[in-house]
């Protein structure tokens, strides 16, 4: 079952992307199994983050918990969510391999200005690049 798949060459990747880039829903989700393709911060939140952190960013509790992103003071320092999205944290997987700098900036900016968070400063793709 799950095994770590080695990175494919760029020529091969182009072929693979071409073959599964038959766009499914119009928002860019389910378009590629190699990378997330949506560019919009809210779409990225809806198609990735809410899987664990839940639709209102309220988090969830079972045997362990997924922390709430809603009204989360740890998001004040923008470098923190950028680092966690790129590298993961404890059980959370890293998303750096699946998202480019623009996408990481977009989803971090969305979360920091929605879900009851109101941080005005924006993260730029260059800020993300610096953390990679």
């Amino acid at each position: 079952m799950p095994r770590v798949v080695p990175p494919v060459s760029s020529a091969l990747l182009a072929l693979v992307l071409a073959s599964d880039a038959m766009a499914q829903p119009s928002d860019g989700t389910f378009a590629s199994n190699q990378r997330f393709l949506p560019k919009d911060g809210e779409v990225l939140f809806r198609s990735i983050c809410q899987g664990c952190h839940m639709p209102e960013g309220q988090g969830a509790t079972g045997a362990g918990k997924y922390p709430a992103l809603a009204r989360n003071e740890k998001l004040e320092a923008s470098g923190y969510p950028v680092f966690v999205v790129l590298n993961g944290l404890r059980g959370m997987p890293p998303f750096g391999p699946y998202l480019d700098d623009e996408q990481v900036a977009a989803v971090v900016n969305y979360v920091r200005s929605h879900l009851g968070n109101d941080y005005q400063d924006k993260v730029s793709p260059d800020d993300v690049k610096a953390v990679r």
Binding site: V4, S32, N33, G64, Y66, R90, G91, P93
Partner: protein, 533 residues
């Protein structure tokens, strides 16, 4: 036909091959004694010596915890098991008609599958070389049946391959091998590989390519009875009048290469997918149930949510609550503790182990995976397509369609694995949808391969492993770098606490990893207990 053809002209050559094969077989026979030399499993565990009532608290009633409980109890330990969920088994799990499953976030699904039908949301196949798990299955009386990994008549499907037209595995496989054999044969015949192949090997290679690729006497891959013996016929051989078979036309090499379908051809060649694979009759959780019967229900406490693990010089004390209500805080204690709680959860918990183990516990992200079971009104894959068990692969977001490997020919409903993806965008994107929407999409996409989906769909169950309350993810997704730094530290006995589970193995996500990890931990713990006497 071609596989059994009598030796032809190259008598010397074949004699030579026979000699080589004979010596290899001889070597293998000499190298393996009793349990296979390539397995860490050496047969039933023997824990010698009397632990004189030493006590062990086991956290988690998945296969690791159950293995530990079974062996320790047998060796004379006092054993208590705490389990978060309301059932034993952990990821060794089957969903059946009447079951209710509530995922994180509160969405509840009711399973409407017919009697004897099930979905294994977790592991669903057992390689023949998972010796430890199979050994327990045999000893605990778990009936097994074949799990079909490779079905030559199943489909390979690419959205842009052959204009989206699904292809039979036997066509893609036979034609790919045939074309490659022909190309390589040409290179050899034209002396282009002389630097790499000796004159003697060249003769052997040509003969091998001819047989492997179903080439004709001119070493070309052309439509013939010989190639149809591999890929199947346009019209199969029959009996009586009109019985003559009609040969089928191979697909061209260029079309095959551009289709990308070759990417699926090696799946069955993976060691872990080699024939024969097995599955328990009636669902994977038959294994957990057999373990629980052997361990004794009296030592397993369900609905127990562990909140902290503390050790001191004399014992380990665990605090826990009723996992349904969050009330009723209690403690359990023992001289030793084997903790099989997934690291995704343990890394959030208060536990006083040394820095090295604590760092290891926090170093492992948990993989994403989704499985969707779809019940259909009839077995159209058997009745219309002659697909009995096995797997069709696709680049659609569902990843694959797994057909039931039991109940062949039944006229009633049946359950298909309608989606299985892990560790990649599609798994996350499915997880982020509500369960009913996951099922709806699986039906929609699957209908591109089996149009019968639209009329025959009955009901579905969707399990996204990041939403499973007791695991928060599917399995420990070790990177090579993290394993190098942390794996040894994770597997040490820290004072009175030791860990076990698939995350403490080199077989991530496999039940064999959980069982082997538990056997190793129990063995070392027992040595420590006996040494301290």
């Amino acid at each position: 036909m071609s596989d059994t053809e009598p030796p032809v002209s190259r008598r010397d050559l074949l004699t030579l091959i026979g000699t080589l094969a004979g010596s290899a077989v001889m070597y293998q026979a000499m190298a393996s004694l009793g349990f296979a030399a390539d397995s860490p499993h050496k047969g039933p565990l023997k824990l010698d010596g009397d632990p004189r009532g030493a006590s062990v608290l086991i956290l988690g009633a998945g296969l690791a915890g159950l293995t530990a409980a079974l062996e320790l109890r047998k060796a004379g330990y006092k054993v208590q098991v705490l389990e978060y969920a309301d059932r034993i088994g952990g990821r060794c799990w089957s969903l059946r008609g009447g079951d209710r499953y509530t995922e994180l976030g509160g969405a509840e699904q009711r399973c409407d599958f017919d009697k004897d039908l099930y979905l294994n949301p977790g592991p669903w196949r057992i390689p023949y070389h998972h010796y430890a798990l199979l050994d327990y299955c045999h000893r605990l009386g778990v009936a097994l049946e074949p799990f079909v990994q490779v079905n030559y008549n199943a489909w390979l499907h690419g959205q842009r391959a052959f204009g989206g037209q699904k292809q039979r595995l036997r066509h893609v496989l036979s034609d790919f091998h045939g074309h490659v054999a022909e190309l390589l044969g040409k290179a050899v015949s034209q002396d282009k590989l002389d630097d790499m192949v000796s004159r003697e090997d060249k003769e052997i290679l040509l003969e091998a390519l001819r047989r492997w690729g179903a080439l004709n006497q001119n070493f070309t891959y052309r439509a013939s009875l010989r190639t149809s013996d591999r890929r199947g016929y346009a019209r199969d051989p029959g009996g009586g009048l009109s019985a003559e078979p009609e040969v089928s036309q191979p697909v061209g090499l260029g079309d095959l290469l551009k289709s990308g379908l070759w990417r699926y051809l090696a799946t069955g060649n993976l060691y872990e997918f080699h024939t024969t694979l097995l599955q328990p009759v009636g669902g994977m959780d038959m294994i957990a149930k057999a373990f629980a019967r052997a361990v004794g229900d009296d030592v397993i406490q369900l609905n127990a949510k562990v909140t902290s693990i503390r050790q001191d010089d004399g014992q380990v004390t665990v605090r826990y609550r009723d996992s349904r209500t969050g009330d009723n805080p209690r403690t359990a204690s023992a001289q030793w503790c084997i903790c099989t709680i997934p690291l995704s959860i343990l890394s959030q918990m208060e536990i006083n182990v040394g820095a090295a183990m604590a760092d290891a516990i926090s170093a492992v992200p948990y993989g994403s995976a989704i499985k969707i079971g779809l019940q259909f009104k009839r077995r159209f894959w058997e009745q219309d397509d002659a697909i009995y068990g096995g797997i069709s692969y696709t680049d659609l977001p569902i990843g694959l369609i797994g057909y039931p490997n039991h109940g062949y020919g039944d006229r009633g409903k049946a359950v298909v694995l309608g989606a299985y993806v892990f560790d990649a965008p599609f798994a996350y994107e499915f997880t982020a949808l509500p369960p009913a929407e996951r099922v709806r999409k699986a039906v929609e996409w699957g209908a591109q391969i089996h149009p019968q989906y639209r009329d025959e769909f009955d009901s579905g169950m969707a399990v996204a492993w990041h939403r499973v309350p007791g695991t928060l993810g599917c399995y420990g997704q070790w990177s090579d770098a993290a394993r190098k730094i942390h794996y040894q530290n994770l597997c040490q006995i820290d004072g009175r606490i030791a860990l076990a589970g698939e995350h403490a193995s080199y077989l991530p996500a496999w039940q064999e990893g959980a069982v082997l990890s538990a056997i190793d931990t129990v063995t070392r713990l027992h040595q420590r207990v006996m040494a301290s006497r």
